[in-house]
Chain length 301, copies 4
């Protein structure tokens, strides 16, 4: 079917390619000329304005946003809304907060425009392997876009589903990312323990590769980890500095709001904050306290 | 090659079967008649004493223990030692503490008996899918048993390796289980958050199945979790009571001894302890303290 | 000086009493007749409406709210606003979220009404021992109310201060409560460990009393804990069920927003959530996963 | 009464002084001449060998060790044992592991020598304020040394007690230090949150001072913290590097062995390990994993 893709960055461009290869008619928009140019040899048509994009699509239109969460989504919706007509469907495939998606759904419903929140997992590997798609929103537009989901997913009959009403897709994706934080931290801690005993287990990369086959901890993240360790087992040149995007924080906040203790997901987030601290005030105060009550020496900077 | 399997429980019996199907000549020993009987239709010969087992093997012998960690391993070694001869190799494929394995290796080396500590992962699925094997010990006996490892592993060239000197195999397995604790807890927390919002995402089992395809959190544990949720999405009849075996504790203790913070693996262990608490004294004291300073009401039993 | 006290519950009534005993002219308001009656023998005048309260005070008026955080504060402000005049000062001495206080400060400033957010600590002991007061807001009204703060505090020259602009008082109180959560949990865990070894240290209450004198962990919370344990060392009849009010949650959320890892305060909050869980889904799922991969038995309900 | 003090470091010298001022006849021993010299103007007699020390005391003798935990205690006992006689009592006032104390108690009991494990809290302030003493061991020698405990404690009737049989004193002290870790971390986190909002609450030292009076979090540790912050509110020149001695680790290990979850004490310990990490492998691996699955940029060193 015909679809407009808004945002041709790492994720949006790959999704446009996968859809095109799957036989869909994709028109892409991105404000940046190089982003558009990168897609043209893929027979994905591109346009240089939202107005042109909407004009290129047959009503009822299907548009898919892959833009950063927050203001960019609201800005895009504000620009699109006067251009769209009742019956059109707009998809947010990014990592928006699920309550923002619910708010946008409600606002667009007043104009007769359908709004789907589609949690999208798979990263840079999605082009080749397909994306995991968690679709939230009304049943009718979700059903209408089934051919698109079926192409983006690893297979037509798996890796995508309509998981619930508006917000459900981004809620599911939020929790997915919380789990991802916890899994990543579990692996990172385990390999850090091993690295400290390289006298005993010298080949960490080899062990990661071994575990990929038959072990209880085998996973796609381990596949990638084994590859990363094979290329750079000492992790040379990489700073011990770990960003976090919003979804880990939202998961932690949501869990607390729901009275569900999630200590491991929470600790995984806190460790990322910790990785970005330098000369931590808390640790300096602990050192000062030890000196104050016990006369213990302080390490000076 | 010829191998004696000591301990024909869930793990040992399946390993004997997989070896037999792979063309090896396995003689099994278990003190329990039903455990022996269960293997006989598989053309695995069984004997009813360690003496008979040793007598049935050609020197230099290869013996593999699959017995519970701790005293049973020491007892088995004590019984075997006078029966074995220099050049024999004894394998501990169970979940022993790696320092116990190092101690045993040293003690048996005095008698010229080789000792391998083989961390074995794969659980009840190992018979069909193969086991992940982390081999610790001296190079010569490890090389000698390569045909056995190649058969037990998912494939001859992957899923097993000689990972280091004595203790390395069980050290690697210990860390593997620590990671496993963290991953399991991450999934459990995520699904618990989802379960609390079943109004929004009603089909948790369907979501687990969806994530198996294309998502960042796909893994073998997720495959099994999706299956468990499909059969019993409400987890009816299951007590919220989670045992822990030694390896999680050892990982936590080892990490602290090595000065490596492992907060997620540690929290995953503590949550298991917590699951087995009833009427926790700490929580009752918190309630009493709140009443004492703030006049807050106490919930009475 | 003259002051109107709004809300004559546990905290407000005691503060009115302490002010009255300190020579201030207090007029109290509470919608509940028994709450008013309880104060009358203390020579604290009471009225039965906000209108009467405002009428009883000389401009520029000073009013102090001790009402539950959230809607009750907004409702009280909405009712007061048309009654107040420029130059009046309104204090929120409750546990409001500091950003709500900042919002209210801004809104009232438009009407020329000063607004102070006063974090108040001390609980039911404040009447006798004085309250710790963290004053946020503009300098002029803060200075005007200095006599009130000096009386409520343990002494005129200590235990209270103007800590910063609007929001600062409630921000400081929020963090205070976060620390309180962490301290309480530290004690609770320690005594729970001791309780498990009552064969070795049989008299926990005696140990708590001992620690009050000369130990590094001596504190006011320990004073109260020792008293609670002396009265009920087995904590009989107390449910292991610990509520949490908003301030712990806000501290955790704020810390994350500020990129400051606060693992202990966070864990202390999560333990309270955990105390209120029964038949935890996460733990049931862990048990199901162990059965799925390892064939481990499940405890049935 | 007469007492021999072994080890005249920070703790031992101050305890000798406090005992001397309390009217006891103290003979001090330390292998280091300056340590001995420092005590002489205090009318504490000193000797330069254990043999001289034992010779200077009337049987049945009372000796008190204040030496570092571990080998120094065993070495001192080995040197003393042939010099002592049945009926003598030896005290370990240091931070030994309680199971070591139990082992030593048993060994010395064979020679008729009593052994007390006395957990001692109070740090450098003990000279002036008295020490909190948790006495473990047999009842008779504990009663015999009561005059010594009564002088060392803040007052004759409080701050010390015979808390249980051999090991109980050091067990109680171990848990005391675990609680101390948790409390310190709670304060450190709270002040770190405040420090990040110094725009809102500019005077952290003033707030710490304020909280000392009337607040729920007032404590002796807060008294010292307020003083440390007053002298150096920016904690300038202090490295964010926090040592840990054995007692925190033992508390964590013991709690796990007892199946008592102690998440806050545990996290407090892990944060100390974390403070001493540089270029953490775990964090570098997390960064590498993010790049691998999501194409996220890596910060380079």
């Amino acid at each position: 079917m015909q679809l407009g893709m808004i945002g041709l960055g790492r994720m949006g461009a790959n999704m446009a390619r996968r859809l095109r290869r799957g036989g869909h008619a994709v028109v892409g928009f991105d404000p940046t000329p190089p982003a558009r140019a990168a897609l043209e040899d893929e027979t994905v048509a591109t346009v240089d304005s939202l107005q042109a994009l909407v004009g290129a699509l047959q009503p009822p239109r299907a548009l898919w946003m892959m833009v950063p969460a927050g203001a960019p989504v609201d800005d895009t919706i504000a620009a699109l809304r006067p251009l769209l007509a009742p019956g059109d469907v707009l998809v947010d495939g990014g990592n928006s907060w699920y309550r923002d998606s619910q708010r946008r759904h409600t606002a667009l419903a007043e104009a007769g425009i359908a709004y789907l929140d589609v949690g999208t997992s798979g990263g840079v590997w999605g082009l080749a392997e397909g994306y995991s798609l968690m679709v939230g929103g009304d049943a009718e537009p979700a059903a209408r876009l089934a051919p698109v989901f079926a192409t983006l997913a690893p297979a037509a009959d798996r890796g995508w589903a309509h998981v619930g009403p508006s917000g459900a897709g981004h809620f599911a994706k939020m929790v997915h990312n919380g789990i991802e934080y916890g899994m990543m931290q579990a692996y990172a801690e385990g390999f850090a323990i091993l690295e400290r005993r390289s006298d005993l287990v010298p080949d960490i990369a080899g062990l990661a590769e071994l575990w990929r086959h038959g072990s209880v901890v085998r996973s796609w993240l381990l596949d990638l980890t084994a590859e990363a360790l094979r290329d750079n087992p000492g992790l040379e040149g990489i700073a011990a500095w770990v960003p976090d995007s919003g979804e880990g924080r939202w998961t932690v906040a949501e869990a607390i709001e729901l009275d569900v203790p999630a200590p491991v997901i929470t600790q995984a987030l806190l460790e990322r904050l910790r990785s970005r601290q330098d000369n931590a005030y808390a640790d300096r105060l602990l050192a000062a306290m030890r000196a104050a009550f016990g006369g213990h020496g302080i390490k000076r900077t």
